[in-house]
């Protein structure tokens, strides 16, 4: 999946998505967001499979 962010290094993700990613050892920069405005949300982490 393409790196997702604002282009300024800031990743837009819900607090729960961040927590899930860090606990599960997923690099959130690699997750594509499907929430509003491309926000990374829980389901994106749940559905993420490392390339």
């Amino acid at each position: 999946a393409p790196a997702h962010g604002t282009g300024n290094g800031r990743v837009i993700a819900s607090p729960l998505a961040k927590k899930l990613a860090s606990e599960k050892g997923i690099d959130i920069n690699k997750v594509a967001g499907s929430g509003d405005g491309g926000r990374i949300i829980k389901r994106d982490i749940d559905n993420y499979t490392p390339a």
């Binding site: 819900s14 607090p15 729960l16 899930l20 606990e23 829980k42």
Partner: protein, 467 residues
Amino acid sequence: MAYDVVVLGSGPGGYVAAIRASQLGFKTAIIEKESLGGICLNWGCIPTKALLKSAQVFEDIKHAKDYGIEATGTADFSAVIKRSRGVADKMSKGVQFLMKKNKIDVIMGYGKLKAKGQIEVKGTDGKTQIVEAKHIILATGGRSRELPSLKIDGKKIIGYREAMVLPQQPKSMIVVGSGAIGVEFGYFYNALGTKVTIVEFMDRIVPVEDEEISKELLKNFKKTGIEVMTSAEVTSVDTSGNGVKAKVKTKEGEVTLEADVVLSAVGVAANVEGIGLEELGVKTEKGKIAVDKYYKTNVPGVYAIGDCVPGQALAHVASKEGIICVESIAYSEKKYNHQPEALDYGNVPGCTYCYPEIASVGLTEKQAKDAGYEIKVGKFPLSAAGKASAAGHNEGFVKVIFDAKYGEWLGTHMIGYNVTEMIAEIVVARKLETTYHEVLDSIHPHPTMSENIKEAIEVAYGEAIHI
């Protein structure tokens, strides 16, 4: 003349769908056989809340001395009813205004699917017309479910409609069923002086709520003199005498209750009969119209929303379904720029407006455990809350449930003063996928009832200040 969208039924599902359709550029009509606004505005949410407010004012007068006020008062039953009707009428007229403002044609009459893209409407004058539309949205709502042992006769065995407009106040009433509608009427009539007995089939009242909520409501209802029988079933009602004699099967055996009237409040049945579903081959499932997540039925061009489809039978659900349905149609016709997000039925708040009020969203403690979550639970009693003391309403609690592992907010269950105004915070926070942390870092104003949500979270995480 052909419409883009025709909506059958003008409840909070239908009229909201019609407005959104018109906003998005669809030529729209709405068909209604009775009163604009449906059950919600005419016979549901709004008139009951007007009645409940009268009851609350009367309660305050009865307890005025606690506030340093010397007062006496009597409830004028017919004036209370009249006020409620006035509020309902005002809201229904409001819908009429909104239809006009949004250039939606209102067709009064009984509608029925006739053929693909056609609804036959039988007007009050007996005349029939065919209304054509590319998209037909069924929003026919629901009605009181009837038990075989409890046939509504409108006089002694009544449904919610009659309960809202009784010609005089009964001295005693049996309420069968203790969902939101049952306990709201039970509270209302008891507050006004009717002797109320609630009979519930399950082993606790408000059985869809968290168990602790049921317990707390029971405690409060008993204190105010409402009789409650659980694990109890009305097997027959004898209406031959002056009032009614109801046979009730309980664990301890059969008892006979006497009262002026019985209110049947045992749930909602969807209006799926006589609207042409069979003729067009529209599928139903368990008595409701089967739809996908954008409210399409199996027949192209036919959609359904609100109480006639699965999902919580609530006004705010019906309205949101209407909006999603229409936006999805608009998206497919390139009149809207994105597919709307499907409704998350797990994040729908439920409210009950008796006193103490109940508001909840998400999983109960039992559901969370059954789903395999390891949970953190925090419960804050409102007896420790400053605002509750200042308001003289100390009953109840806020109970929050979090996933212990990731901090996800799984559910919240509140009972007490004003909690129905506090639940939206939790819905939004869950929608934004908060963890407990961000809520604790959001400043809740003091002194409010809402700050007790924060207190409950602190309890869950061992950081409680005020307990």
